[in-house]
């Protein structure tokens, strides 16, 4: 580069620049010459060298690949072309259930998940869990049909703050926390303390006793 900075681009340089810019594919020196009306190869080469230098620090570079030239985004700015937009979404109820079943029973096949849940699992549900990175296929079960079996990933443990799967509360603990009560029963237990039922404390005592029996099953 001269002391006076970049000189005005010459006509040929501008012509090469515009041609490569508008070209739909990379052009070799000869194709450029032909396009520009039969110029000397040496002149076009010189123009290419000047342009290459001129664009060296820019957001766009003039590069040669296999003898053909084209403009491309500077490598350090490539990330600008593919921008990722993150969208945070809460896991659906169904997906949460499937995740929980896999976590408690892994490795587990889809049929097994369905038999535990008592409902069919849509294909999308497992996809979501795999997209989230919490579940992965873990081989096949050696039974007829060789179904794929699924297991949780280390990412799952990370996200949910678990050191290992053993940190998941056991069935007994879930029961103690009331998490194994069917919803309607839990509701009843709740309702029992509502004002409507206060009339006969003795009969209440009786009911309570029977409830305890149920829990012990």
């Amino acid at each position: 580069m001269s002391d006076e900075g970049q000189p005005e681009p010459g006509t040929l340089e501008r012509a090469v620049e515009a041609t490569l810019f508008a070209a739909e594919e990379p052009l070799g020196v000869e194709a450029l010459c032909a396009h520009l009306g039969g110029l000397a190869l040496a002149d076009v080469r010189e123009a290419l060298a000047l342009l290459e230098a001129r664009y060296r620090n820019r957001g766009v570079h003039l590069v040669e690949r296999g003898g053909r030239w084209h403009f491309e985004t500077a490598p350090d700015l490539a990330h600008l072309l593919r921008r990722e937009k993150e969208q945070v979404r809460r896991l659906s109820r169904a997906a949460t259930e499937v995740l929980a079943i896999i976590a408690y029973h892994e490795p587990v096949s889809r049929a097994e998940i369905e038999s535990i849940r008592g409902v069919q699992t849509s294909a999308g549900t497992l996809d979501v869990l795999m997209e989230a990175g919490w579940v992965k296929p873990a081989g096949r079960r050696e039974v007829p049909g060789r179904p794929v079996i699924y297991a949780t990933t280390p990412t799952f443990l990370d996200h949910f703050g678990l050191a290992s799967r053993r940190d998941l509360p056991g069935i007994d603990e879930l029961r103690a926390a009331g998490l194994l009560d069917p919803v309607d029963e839990a509701m009843e237990a709740h309702m029992r303390f509502e004002p409507d039922d206060e009339s006969d404390p003795q009969s209440d005592g009786q009911d309570d006793g029977q409830d305890d029996e149920n829990l012990a099953d």
Binding site: E72, R82, Q87, R89, A100, I116, G118
Partner: protein, 262 residues
Amino acid sequence: MNAPDEPFMFPPETARADADALHLALDGWEGPLDLLLDLARRQKVDLRQISILALVDQYLTYIERAGTMRLELAADYLVMAAWLAYLKSAMLLPKAEQEDPNPEELALRLQLRLQRLGAMREAAGRLMGRDRIGRDVFLRGAPEGLRTDRKTVWRSDLFSVIQAYGQVKARTAPRIYHVANRPVMTLDSALERVSAMLGVTLEWMEIRDFLPPHASPALKRSALASSFVAALELAKRGRAELDQDGAFAPLRIRRLKEGQAA
């Protein structure tokens, strides 16, 4: 503006068409106003100084000579010709005899319309003459393209997972139903009990004395009802008699000897 000197009878596109194809000549105009504008332009003066009278003559001459033109195409042109002929006669009459509409006003209106169409025609030409993309300037031939990838980040928490598992287990666990054994005294057992106790004495006994002494309140209520019905049944069979001093007073019962009438 300064169109090359063509015979003005023909629109530019069909300038070389022969006289037999006069009807084709009209295809080159975008309607009578367009033809008028072109004729006006041939007067080679500013549209504002145009002679309307001369223009009318030129138009009428043109239409006359294009006598063979297709009628459906020509209708608009003929309507315009009739209107212009009317305008011309009105303009030639002395001013004093003018009625509404004033021919000068009509002429002005025509002139204004021609000016406006002329302005747009010229503007269109200048617009088309600009550096147009794909003709004069070119965009990048092979842009890499910008893409925004939408990525979903899923969120959940341990409590939701555990709770979901609890609910699945609870929902699908085999359910066991207990039918509570309600504390009741059946009529049969009350009959048996009251009969047995009546057998002990011939004295009046209060019905409450027949009730099981340590029963729960619920069982007591049931036993009272059953014992009362049992007492009625025994009285009906002629084996006991009942007595009460008044409403809600203690109900008493006494055994009848065999054969003794109530």
